[in-house]
Symmetry: C2
Subunit: 157 residues, 2 copies
DNA sequence: AACTTAAGTTCCCTTAGGGAACCTGCCCGG
DNA sequence: CCGGGCAGGTTCCCTAAGGGAACTTAAGTT
């Protein structure tokens, strides 16, 4: 299915989608985030086809989101762990979870809770302005052209 | 391509992906967020096929993310606007943009900047703990089972 | 020697996405 | 009042991506 490529668009959202826009990738990342790190574990947990899982893992490793680590040399066995970039990507997952908890969880409430380890409290993660610390959402944001807008740097390093 | 459905999984991330997991949806939402609201405008801006755009818009309207509003009765013309749910979904887009700005923007810098209207400053949006206001990321979170975990409420209202 | 396990790989089949052409209701200029 | 234009889709065919199941490889286990 000749899918359009997003990586060349001058848009950080499109570029991020180029990385994890295909629907299984966020769930694979979620699994790795919560400790499901091995091929068969992920495959069983998600019900994804082995073929597609192989492709996605390879892609995420190539792009630096995950690292493939050998946890047994003989027999050779591997697990997948988050890189620094992968940890940052989890912010997107946390934002998705926040939305799902609020709008899609139904009367039973959210399936999982998040405890902020430094303060010990169970609380949702909120988007805040990096300058004034107040809530920062689509309806309180103005979008302005940035330095990377009209340059030839469509394909970043 | 018989795609696996995510909506029945007991996971707020999977449920959110059921809504906007297909790769075009976030870009459509982005367009609407920044003021590109009409069919032909979105189609031209994204380069998406008209067929798929029709399907996505219909889906997003059905699920309550967008609303289809008539802006001219004769001739009948429509535009798409964010619902309250749609505005909340934009938090996910903002998190994606934040990641893309940080990891995928290259030397030219981010394509767009975000100004927080209440304080007037250009700043990135950060995830903060709703209780203590400190940064809250994957490496400072413990995941615990929540009330909606093992109930029969797999398919919320 | 036979069985099991983790981690893939290969095969075929179905279906979703792309592209281009077509349709519909209405406005407008001549 | 007729042809053209425009917004907003709809229809068609083709290709390629996802699903599923079987097979493979390299080792350990009984």
């Amino acid at each position: 299915m000749q899918r359009t490529q997003f990586g060349d668009m001058v848009c950080s959202i499109a570029r991020t989608l180029d990385l994890i826009g295909e629907p299984w990738s966020p769930l694979i990342l979620r699994d790795v985030m919560v400790g499901i790190r091995r091929f068969d574990q992920i495959q069983a947990d998600l019900g994804i086809s082995r073929k597609v899982l192989t492709e996605r893992l390879k892609w995420l490793v190539e792009r630096g989101v995950l690292a493939r680590r050998e946890y047994s040399a003989r027999p050779p066995r591997y697990e997948y762990v988050l890189t620094d970039q992968g940890v940052d990507l989890c912010d997107v997952l946390i934002a998705m979870a926040r939305f799902g908890d609020r709008w899609l969880a139904g009367p039973a409430g959210p399936p999982v809770l998040y405890r902020h380890r430094p303060c010990g409290h169970i609380a949702p993660a909120d988007l805040r302005c990096g300058h004034c610390d107040q809530p920062m959402h689509a309806d309180t944001i103005d979008v302005l052209p940035g330095p990377g807008m009209a340059t030839g740097a469509d394909v970043p390093a």
